[in-house]
Symmetry: C2
Subunit: 451 residues, 2 copies
C-alpha cells in the first residue's frame, strides 16, 4: 500500500503491507474486541498493549482520579494471581511492564522477547478481565497514589503543566489533572472504582495492539482463549465502542494568569493558546510549525532563548491534540526575576512567526527532521504499538511512513504562517510556578487580553 | 567467540564475532586514537559516541564544574560551524544529538540513520577538535549552566542524590556533584576551561565507538580524514591514555546524616553504603542482589514498601561502580512524617537479606530478569555503543551476552548473601530532602554508627 488505511468499526478482517515491509492485520471479533498487529520482519521482540478508550476526561464530578486509581488496582491481583505473581511474570523474563492513564485512554503494556508473548497475553488478559479490586489493597493503594501525587506536586514543571491545562481549557474536562487531587483520592470509594471497572472494561471497549515479532493468527487465538477462560462471553454480539466525536468543543479558557508561588531557584513558565484537535487536517502543519518554532536545538526558541541570550537551559514548544480540543504551549525554565522578559521574548517570537512566516531553509530542515525522526522512532516496537492504538482509538485510520511523508511534503510555508497567526490570535493563558512577583507579566498580559 | 575479549592498549587491530552475530572491530591508531565498532546485521541506523576519559572527579579545586562547562561549549561553534550549524546538521536529518558529562568520562553522541554516518563523523570531529571556546559564548553559556543547576536544585531527588554521594564518598573526588555549584560556575574562568580542553582532548584521549549499521573500514577512514582535516597530526606516535587504576581507594565517609530542609509534600530519602568498583569480580553478584532487593516490581523493596505497606510510590536500590570506589543505595519518596519508619524498614530488609539470604526462586527470577533485560537492551544501538565505550575506557575487555550469561550462571545464593552482609557491615550514610524533623532517624542511626 501507499496511503492511509481506514479502520472501520464494522469490518471484521483487514490486512495490508505498510511502508517498510511490515504487515498490519486487524480483526474485529463479534464481541467487539479489536486486535491489531504489526509484524516487523527480523524483529526478535515485541511490545503489546491492552487499551480501553477511557481516560480522566470521562470521569464524573466526585470521581476525579478514579481512572488512574483503577489502573493501579489492576496490578494488585486477580483470582489467579497476586500482585507479586504479576510482577514476577514480567520481571522473571526481563520484560518491561507498565501502564499509563491519559486524558482519553488507558493502556497496559509490556515489552518482551518473542518467546514471551503467550505469557504476556495471559497475564495482561487476566489483569484486565479479572481484577479482584480487593478492599484492603484498595486502601493500601490509596496511600501509594497519594505519594505519587505528592511527588508530582514537588515537581514544579508538573505543577506548571497541570495549571496550564486548567488555564487554557477552563471548565472543559480535558483541563483536569489526570490523577485527580489529594482530596478526590482521599474521598474515592471502592464502589465508585468498581463501577468504573464494570462500565469500561467490556469486550466492546478492549483494543489489543502488538508490534514486532508477532503472528496475527497466533495472537488472535491466544487473546480469544485467554478472554474465554476469564469468563468473557465472546459469542455475544456487541458493536465496538465508537470513536469520540471529532468536532471542536467550545472552550472557555480559565484564568488568564496563574502564579503558584514557590521558594524555588527557577521559575517554570508555560504560556499558550488553544490548538488543534488530534484529527485536524492541519496536524502535520502543526508538526512543521513546532519543529521550526520550538522542537529541537536548531529551533527558534532554543536559538533565541538559550544560545543567543543564555536565559534558559530548557525551552521548547509543544502541541498536544485530543478528540475535541488541543493546545499549543511554550515552556521555559528561567531565573524568576527574568520571567517577564522571557515571556515577552517567547511571545514576540510567536508573533514574528505569525507576521513574517518561515524561510525555505526552515521548511526543508523541518521536513528532514520529522521524516528522519519518524524513521528512527519506528525502530522501536513501542512506537509502532502506540501507533496502532492511536489508529484504532483516535484516528480511525492507519497512516504509514510513506503516507506521512507524502502529507508532510504538501505543507507550505504559507500553511505554517497561517497556523501560527491563528494560534497567536487565540486567548493566551500563562501558568508559572516559582518565586514570582504578581506583576511579573504586566508588560504582556493587558495587550494579549485585548488582542 | 564465546567469552570476554581483552582490549589491550598496545594492540593495533582486533576483530571478533560477538554473541548474537554482531561483528566487533577495534583499531588503535599510532596517534593513540581508538576506534571501536560493532556491526549489527539488519540494522538501518547507528549510534556514534566520541569519548574522553575525563570527568568531574578529575577536576582540581577552583575548577569544579569545568568538565561539564566545556561539554556545553563544544556545542557553541568551531571555525567552520556556528552553534546553529551544529544543531541544524543533526536536526535536519531527525537525529538525536547530545552529550553527557559523568564522574569519570565525557561522551558526545548521536543516533542517526545509516546514510548520515559521514555527517555525524564530520560534525562530531569538528566539535571535539576545533571548538572556538568564544569568550562571548562562554559568558552566555555560564547563564545557561546556572539555569541547569537551578533546575537540578529544584528537583528534590537530584539534591538528595548529590548529598548522598557526598555523604558516602566524603572528601573523595567521586563525592562531588558533576556540574559544580553555582559558586564555582560563577567563578569559572575562560582560561581554565581552555586549559582543560587542551589537556584532555588530544589524540591519545579520544575513543570513538559506533554500533549498528557501520562498516569499520569506512568508519576508520572517515574519522582519520576528519581528524587530519582538523589539523591533528595522526602520524606522531602516542600511547593511548591508560585506564584508571582499579585499586580500591580509601574512603572516609562524610556526614552520617544530611537533612536538607525543604517545604515539600514528600521526603526524598537515600541511604546506603560503600559498594563495589566497576571492575570488581562481584559486579555480577551485585546485579543479582540488586535485582532481588530493589530492582523491579517483584523486588523485596517494592513488594514490602509499596505493595504491602503503601508507604511509597517510587522505591528502589542502585549500585553504581567507578574505577576505585562504588556505592550501594536505597531510595524512597515518602510522607515526611513516616521517613524514619521507611528508613528503618528498608534497613531491616537489607539486614534480612544479609542474615537469611535469598531463595532459589529469587535466584532463578533474577537470572531471568537480567538475561532477558540484557537481550532487550541490546536491540538499541545506544546500549551497544555505550558497552563499547565502557569496554574501552573502564573495563579493558569486551563481554558479550553469552559471556555475561555464563558469569551470571555462576553466581550462588551464598555469594549474594555474603555481598549483602558485606554491604550492611559498612558505614551507613543517609541523605534526605524534605520537611523533616532533625530526630527523624534517631531510631536507626546510633545503632548503625556502632555496627
Amino acid at each position: 500500500m501507499n496511503g492511509a488505511v481506514e479502520f472501520p468499526l464494522d469490518l471484521a478482517e483487514l490486512s495490508f503491507r505498510a511502508a517498510g515491509e511490515s504487515l498490519v492485520r486487524r480483526s474485529v471479533l463479534p464481541s467487539g474486541v479489536r486486535i491489531v498487529s504489526e509484524h516487523v520482519p527480523g524483529s526478535r521482540s515485541l511490545t503489546i498493549g491492552y487499551w480501553v478508550a477511557v481516560g480522566s476526561r470521562d470521569e464524573e464530578p466526585g470521581h476525579f482520579g478514579s481512572t488512574h486509581f483503577l489502573e493501579h488496582l489492576l496490578f494488585k491481583g486477580t483470582a489467579k494471581r497476586t500482585a507479586l505473581d504479576i510482577a514476577i511474570a514480567f520481571d522473571s523474563v526481563g520484560g518491561e511492564h507498565n501502564a499509563m492513564t491519559a486524558k482519553e485512554y488507558t493502556c497496559y503494556y509490556a515489552k518482551v522477547q518473542d518467546r514471551d508473548l503467550p505469557m504476556a497475553v495471559e497475564v495482561l488478559t487476566d489483569m484486565l478481565t479479572s481484577s479482584l479490586l480487593d478492599p484492603v489493597e484498595f486502601e493500601n493503594e490509596r496511600g501509594v497514589i497519594l505519594e505519587e501525587l505528592a511527588m508530582a506536586d514537588d515537581d514544579p514543571s508538573d505543577v506548571a503543566n497541570e495549571r496550564f491545562f486548567e488555564a487554557v481549557m477552563g471548565e472543559h474536562p480535558l483541563g483536569r489533572p489526570i490523577g485527580g487531587s489529594p482530596d478526590t483520592i482521599r474521598a474515592a470509594t471502592h464502589a465508585a472504582v468498581q463501577d468504573h471497572y464494570r462500565a469500561n472494561y467490556r469486550p466492546q471497549d478492549l483494543v489489543v495492539t502488538v508490534a514486532g515479532a508477532v503472528d496475527h493468527d497466533v495472537l488472535v487465538a491466544g487473546v480469544t482463549r485467554a478472554l474465554t477462560m476469564a469468563g468473557w462471553d465472546l459469542s455475544e454480539y456487541a458493536a465496538p465502542v465508537g470513536r469520540r466525536s471529532g468536532s471542536p468543543a467550545t472552550i472557555s479558557p480559565g484564568a488568564r494568569l496563574t502564579i503558584v508561588p514557590r521558594p524555588l531557584e527557577q521559575a517554570n513558565l508555560l504560556m499558550g493558546f488553544p490548538g488543534l484537535l488530534a484529527t485536524d487536517d492541519r496536524r502535520v502543519t502543526m508538526s512543521v510549525l513546532n519543529s521550526i518554532f520550538g522542537g529541537g536545538m536548531s529551533s527558534r526558541l532554543f536559538q533565541e532563548m538559550r544560545e543567543r541570550r543564555g536565559l534558559a537551559y530548557s525551552v521548547y514548544s509543544f502541541a498536544p491534540g485530543y478528540s475535541d480540543a488541543g493546545l499549543f504551549g511554550m515552556y521555559a525554565g528561567c531565573t524568576p526575576a527574568k520571567t517577564g522578559q522571557v515571556a515577552e521574548l517567547m511571545l514576540s517570537e510567536l508573533h514574528r512567526l505569525a507576521e513574517h512566516g518561515v524561510t525555505a531553509d526552515e521548511m526543508k530542515r523541518a521536513s528532514g527532521q520529522l521524516s528522519g525522526a519518524s524513521a528512527l522512532a519506528l525502530e522501536d516496537s513501542d512506537t509502532r504499538m502506540s501507533r496502532l492504538g492511536r489508529s484504532e482509538i483516535t484516528l480511525g485510520e492507519f497512516v504509514d511512513l510513506d503516507e506521512a511523508l507524502r502529507r508532510l511534503a504538501l505543507v507550505t510555508a504559507a500553511d505554517v504562517q497561517a497556523l501560527a497567526a491563528g494560534l497567536a490570535a487565540g486567548p493566551m493563558s500563562i501558568a508559572a510556578v516559582g518565586a514570582l512577583q504578581p506583576d511579573a507579566f504586566a508588560a504582556i498580559l493587558p495587550d494579549t487580553i485585548c488582542s
